[in-house]
Amino acid sequence: MGKQTWKERIPAFASVLGLLVLIAAYYIVGAVRDANVAYGLKAIVNQSVVVALVATGAVFIYTLGSFDISLGAATGVSALLGAMAYNATGSLVIMFLVCVGVAVVLGFINSSLASVFNLPIFVTTVAMMSVLSAFMLILIGWNGAGDTVKVKARDVRPLDNIPFKVFILVSYIALCWFIFTLLPTGREAKFIGGSPVCARLSGINEKKLGIIASLISAVGIGLGAFLTIIYAPTLTKDTASSIGMDVIIAIVFGGMPVSGGPRSRILSAVVGAFSMGFMTQIMSMLNLGSGYGQMIKAAIFLLVVFIALGSQRGKLLTR
């Protein structure tokens, strides 16, 4: 076990270095294009915070070597029901509790179904995604106010500020970091993700951990749903529809392997989500058009992941 050289260390920090490079590029492009850089930072936080929340919770599921494709639909349903609860009661507290509560119930259903039928969580989430997408349409129909469910913007405006959002994000990250790093749950999840057979033979209850991971992830979904309403209180059938894919990109961009295991890190999700936010702003400032912008984003994404996974290439699979 010799001391690691800087070349060996680079992959471990590639995602953070990538974020720092993107921040530097953001300021340079902003200066050249005479952009409103300060306003852009606020926009980046607004645009990244929901993905960061949902992705941070999803790290638990990904660490197990599993995969949840229903994150966006679950966020959408939680937000719709939260908004409808607010319209019925006029209470932001009840809206918050409904958002989180619905997400937790959905997470519990997902993981329980996987447990009862002995299926991978991924399989149940595929089914759940279809059910929830259809349920969103039904909810909008029930609401009976056109193709949207609306909360009055002025009612939620007091909470639509950066300090509140950052407070929610930091609190949730701290909670997840505590569970992931300091409690046995995180270590066991990494063990299962790294080597499911060995973990099982060591007496780790995979199903129980699956349920715990889903519930922790669900809290992130609920918080994301709440902040979605706060930010844009007009909800449609497409609300949060892109979150599922954004979360996968954020987690991989943040340097975490989608196969989970011991190299999983809670902060990967945040680094990835904010890297995407900076990249989006840079592309926007360059006004390249969505086609070229997407291609450049894809190229940067591949480069960062290539460097981040550099240390793993040529080695045996971690699982």
Partner: protein
């Protein structure tokens, strides 16, 4: 060597600074464009008019959003425009227009609605906002009328058996519901004694009923019959099966579509005697469908219809907003062009797609650029939206 480096650095800085001077002097006005559709033929036609004609005719740069279908997407896109120092935003996206107006007003950038209007309540709320330029486009009354006229066109020809494709009616999209309601109301009005839809005859009740169910019931409407209905955009086998079944319904004479008629039903009616009518746009693909006899009636937005809202926005940016006597923003209704044969369609399309001399050319638009353009003059200009009226303006 050190001095040489300093001299070179200074020279480079001077060159950069000099290079910036003409750029600053001629810096175009940046206008953000919010789009709900980035790839459809209609959207591309709108974009081509702005980028290939307007941007060359005026000193403006258009920055486009990605395709938007959520309120948070709209908010993000406006934030991105603000970061880019856009002076104004023209919006084709309507998930949450009040939020868009509020956001732009708070940021101090002008905001205008293209190809749409605000509801009466929304207009009352925002009409005196300093940075709200206004809206020019089909009102919901116009949407109702376009559906009504389409159905009436075939009923007046003696047809009695119809099908309706409701598009986004299941998703409670306002304009599709109003168009469908217009079709049903034409059937009620022209269906003879006792004609009613589900027992109601009042347009408001018909609209309310469609909002309530998110669907349209088939059945007799007086002497007329709505034989089939399909809604939604599922694009799965079952949905295509329903469309094929509707096109093949025994005795059906015409299928009225609230939108996307050629795309979803063209292949099913091709070669049959069933007439297909749609609300769409004047594009090359639609022209081909008209030539091949697939489509029979097109009520279409014309690409250059967005010229006047650009002028109104540019005037506002230049400090000459067009307001009414009470200082309120624009709220002007603009309808569709209707083509009922291939020759007429070709004539409309040739003018609408021209990047040299489009319907709303610079010569026409420049009439309304100078300071002091009155609301009434501008409103009268917008009211002359038919093909023939615009052609007359050119002369």
């Amino acid at each position: 060597m050190k001095n040489m480096k300093r001299i070179l650095s200074l020279a480079l800085c001077l060159m950069l600074a000099l290079a910036c001077i003409p750029a600053l002097a001629d810096a175009p006005v940046k206008i953000g464009v919010l789009v709900a559709d980035a790839t459809g033929a209609e959207a591309l036609a709108f974009r081509a008019y702005y980028e290939h004609y307007i941007a060359k005719a005026y000193n403006v740069e258009f920055i486009y959003s990605e395709e938007l279908n959520t309120a948070d997407g709209e908010k993000n896109a406006i934030d991105n425009f603000i970061v880019n120092n856009c002076k104004a935003i023209i919006s084709f996206s309507s998930v949450d227009r009040p939020a868009q107006i509020e956001q732009c007003d708070a940021a101090g950038i002008y905001y205008a609605v293209a190809t749409g209007t605000l509801t009466a309540e929304e207009y009352e709320e925002f009409k005196d906002y300093e940075y709200y330029v206004g809206a020019i486009g089909p009102s919901l009354d116009t949407e109702f009328r376009v559906g009504y006229d389409m159905a009436a066109y075939y009923i007046d020809q003696g047809m009695t058996k119809f099908g309706i494709f409701g598009g986004a009616v299941p998703y409670r999209t306002d304009m599709h519901i109003y168009r469908a309601a217009g079709m049903l109301c034409a059937m009620i009005d022209k269906g003879g004694e006792g004609a009613a839809y589900q027992g109601v005859t009042d347009p408001g009740a018909v609209i309310g009923m469609i909002y309530g169910t998110g669907s349209i019931e088939t059945g007799k409407i007086g002497s007329l019959e709505l034989m089939a209905y399909v809604g939604g955009y599922d694009f799965d086998d079952a949905w295509f099966g329903k469309l094929a079944q509707m096109a093949g319904t025994e005795g059906i004479e015409a299928i009225l579509t609230v939108g996307s008629g050629v795309d979803v039903l063209g292949s099913f009616v091709s070669g049959s005697n069933v007439k297909l009518a749609t609300v769409d746009s004047f594009t090359a693909a639609m022209g081909e469908a008209m030539n091949s006899g697939i489509i029979d009636y097109v009520a279409g937005k014309f690409a250059t219809s967005i010229g006047p809202i650009f002028v109104a926005t540019l005037n506002a940016v230049n400090g000459q907003p067009i307001r009414d006597n009470d200082g309120n923003a624009l709220a002007l209704d603009q309808g569709y062009w209707v083509a009922t044969d291939a020759e007429q369609f070709a004539q409309y399309y040739a003018v609408d797609s021209s990047s040299e001399d489009p319907a709303y050319s610079k010569a026409i638009l420049d009439t309304y650029v100078p300071a002091g353009v009155s609301y009434d003059d501008f409103a009268a200009f917008i009211a002359q939206y038919s093909f023939d009226e615009i052609a007359a303006l050119k002369k």
